[in-house]
Subunit: 471 residues, 2 copies
């Protein structure tokens, strides 16, 4: 890509019949996502801006955009809700941002599945599913009210519902994806089975999703709760045990180590002390008897809030907006310099406790419990004290030395946010589907630099120069 | 109980306004269940017969029966579908059999739960649930078409659905039970939480269930399949891995070691060889893509039958009638002297394989995979070659020596069919609810003989004498 000269003007002219944003403010806004969560990414990406933004309403228009941009060597970066927190949706090399939320129809609702367009906002999809069929998506990101279905599949990993159904990438959690390639004549492909992984969580680097078939679960009036514990271990053990119980149906099991709730959860503050550890939970109403029975088996553990019986003066809002990356968001509102990590501890409470103790002066523990192949896994999103990039890198290394896997949220590439190695299926498919390397350039290291050694953060060579540097 | 003299005639007279069976054939039939599955139980129980059988239609009539029988020292043994296979429903001391299938109303269907009377046949309940609400019970015994809901909760342990939801006793799988005690003035009690375990799987020894609130799951058009494997290990590993996948929704995962399918499954025989090992599966339609993807990751594994695309000349019928105790039933139809065991191997495939090899000349392996606290458990119902009671006892001991837990199906007491120790909650509640010990006498050892040492099979002293002995 980096050697090509995009002909922006020609592409814009050829696409003039498709809805385009003209206001510079809108173009700038639609070139940004939640990258600023990371101080590291903020320093690298704050200046990025697309040359133009198109808003296609149909697959035919998507095809046209891809064909035209291909012809004129213009990079294309997709944007759904723009809530990604690794700069996934940000156009490193400028060019075209394709904003897809206008392509948002529900095509079919069946028993156990839905077929929809990628731009639909997940909360709106769920509302219609619930009304029409008593069903809902198995899982959603905590950015429920803003995120698009396609953006979740292309950029997300799991969320509220993963306590029951596992991660988005687990077999059975996506049924079918329809894809458009970026070639002289874009092709439309349908993927199922192993082929799904070519494009799921690929940041739109190798194909554009134009239709999704997703499995559904029954919609219940989930009872949302905060449960207080005296120790972090007790809260963690309870959340883990709860998630393991096969007969108790839950949707969310978060653990907020002290002092997170008291310090950052404004409407919870009055009900906890600095030393209280909380679980944030969503439990099916028909599982409340089993839930309360389990809770009573734990010495500590006190339900301080129930959504089906709110006695607090100020309603705390939906519990899922305390979990997953919303925990970090709430902390950032109070302390702008805080940062965070994404850690996988596995299913072992002792390992969680060891990390909690080892890094007690550097971070506050926050866990999300997920079902994972025959067991559970504690996914950590600890809130990290302000520190330099070098210190943060050290903290990552220290975690890895303890056997904790890090998905580094301070990187914008697929590999660095994942397992630091090529996903061969994604790379192979990019060769087929995006021969010019125009789709979301700079996000797949192995496309640009197959021999990259991961000793330091990857810097895409084609990234737009920073204003100072450009002067 | 054993010292009391039941006044049968007085009790019958006092209950004459309640429906009673008069035909000796009916009385004999309603005094028997599937005890004959076990050659050991057959030898001990074949002669048992109630003095009379009542068929109450309401809780008020249940209360009357209990009150009258209490007054006249008449033992009362409950009967639902009479499909229990440990003689649970058989009146060891004669007296009254209370047949409850006339008390079979559905009282309320809600989102995620149902409230019903105990006598309803499970298949009929599910049909109505599905029609009215798109829901079904989480699990059912393979005797679906004959078993009652109350009999399942009082006498069963799990079944089709346990691959997802775990065992009936797991927290959350029963929500509420309404109970009538056997006292001078019977009391009506409502149990939830820990109290459920007083009476669930208590064989009606300490209270009569008159209403149940059960959690529901969505009803899907489950795809039923047989999948063929070359080795027992491969079939076992596949069934285990499948059950562990959080995103693939299944209802049944059975493994039939060779030569079970060829030898005993009449309509399957033509499609397998003597050396083929089968999995019998029920998979949600929306999980078929994930399922087939997983299957393709296993070298072997060939779908030979799918209920959504039947190409066999003769329809094999529902897959669940091949699983759980139906496997044994099918074998018994061919070889009357065969017997069986109930084994828990835990989640470790190697332990299953070790048992399979150690006992290769004595049994054919049959497994049911269940979800169990954070993992899975292989529940074995191996088909055992004809052998004497002493040899069978030795086989049990050999299993236990390998660390396999046995739930002995050749015993009629709660303790011997379970963990060979008192269930203190059940015993304590029997003291309260059945002070005269009239409910299903002889089934709870710890009530009769607290110091029993389990060195040999328990023989209830009050059991009706065998005809020869009686002469
Ligand atoms: C507060 C907060 C909480 C979050 N919680 C979660 C969480 O619980 N779980 C989770 O997984 N993530 C979470 N995230 C990350 C993000 O919100 C989600 O992944 C979300 O689903 C992204 O959807 P979106 O529509 O905003 O995608 P965008 O940010 O618009 O896009 C995400 C990626 O997908 C690509 N893309 C978008 N549409 C398409 C398409 N049609 N075809 C191909 N590629 C496409 C984009 O180019 C980009 O690379 C959170 C982020 C924040 C800021
Ligand atoms: C071929 C076959 C397959 C089977 N498969 C399974 C299986 O998959 N899973 C499983 O768990 N079991 C299984 N069983 C055992 C049995 O079929 C089930 O447990 C079934 O649910 C029993 O229901 P029922 O109505 O026939 O009970 P019954 O046999 O009539 O009664 C069972 C016990 O409950 C008591 N009881 C009945 N009603 C009440 C009441 N209202 N209040 C209090 N006590 C009561 C009886 O006294 C008796 O002790 C199987 C048996 C056979 C023969």
């Amino acid at each position: 890509m980096s050697d090509m000269k995009p002909n922006i003007a020609a592409a814009k002219a050829a696409l003039s019949h498709i809805e385009m944003d003209e206001s510079p403010v809108t173009i700038r806004n639609k070139s940004r996502d939640f990258f600023w969560y990371s101080p590291v990414l903020k320093a690298e990406m704050d200046h990025l801006e697309a040359d133009f933004v198109v808003n296609p309403k149909s697959e035919a228009e998507v095809i046209e955009v891809l064909k035209v941009c291909y012809a004129h060597d213009v990079p294309v970066t997709m944007r759904g809700g723009g809530t990604g927190n690794y700069g996934q949706a940000m156009p490193l090399a400028g060019g075209c941002v394709m904003h897809i939320t206008g392509m948002n129809r529900i095509k079919e609702i069946g028993q156990g599945y839905v077929i929809a367009e990628p731009g639909i906002i997940i909360k709106e999809l769920d509302a219609e599913l619930k009304e029409k069929s008593g069903q809902e998506l198995r899982m959603f990101p905590s950015t429920y009210s803003q995120a698009s279905l396609g953006g979740f599949v292309a950029g997300g990993s799991g969320g509220v519902g993963s306590a029951n159904w596992g991660a988005l990438r687990d077999l059975g959690n996506i049924n079918r994806l329809r894809i458009v390639t970026m070639e002289a004549e874009p092709r439309v492909l349908e993927f199922t089975g192993e082929e799904l992984h070519r494009v799921s969580h690929a940041y739109g680097t190798n194909g554009i999703i134009t239709e999704l078939e997703m499995p559904l679960a029954p919609a219940y009036d989930w009872v949302e709760m905060f449960v207080r514990f005296d120790t972090f271990r007790a809260a963690t053990e309870f959340a883990g045990t709860l998630t393991k119980e096969p007969g108790i149906l839950i949707k969310l099991a978060s653990v907020y180590g002290a002092p997170i709730a008291h310090k950052y959860f404004q409407r919870v503050k009055a009900h906890v002390t600095e030393d209280d550890h909380l679980c944030g939970l969503m439990v099916a109403p028909q599982s409340m008897d089993g839930f309360l029975t389990l809770l009573a088996r734990f010495d500590e553990g006190e339900v301080i809030y129930r959504s089906d019986d709110v006695v607090w003066d100020r309603h705390p809002g939906p519990i899922y907006e305390y979990g997953w990356n919303h925990t970090t968001l709430r902390a950032l509102k109070f302390e702008k310099d805080l940062t965070y990590l994404q850690v996988r501890y596995g299913g072992d409470v002792d390992k969680v406790m060891a990390a909690s103790e080892a890094f007690a002066d550097k971070l506050y523990m926050h866990l999300e419990v997920m079902r994972e192949g025959g067991g559970i896994s504690f996914a950590g999103l600890p809130i990290v004290q302000p520190m330099s990039k070098a210190e943060l890198d050290q903290l990552v290394a220290d975690h890895e030395a303890m056997g904790c896997m890090i998905f580094n949220p301070h990187r914008y590439t697929l590999e660095e946010g994942g397992r630091q190695s090529a996903d061969q299926r994604q790379l192979d498919f990019k060769r087929e589907a995006d021969p010019k390397g125009l789709l979301n350039p700079g996000k797949m290291i192995t496309w640009d630099e197959p021999d990259f050694d991961y000793s330091d953060m990857y810097s895409y060579k084609g990234i737009l120069p920073k204003p100072e540097a450009a002067e």
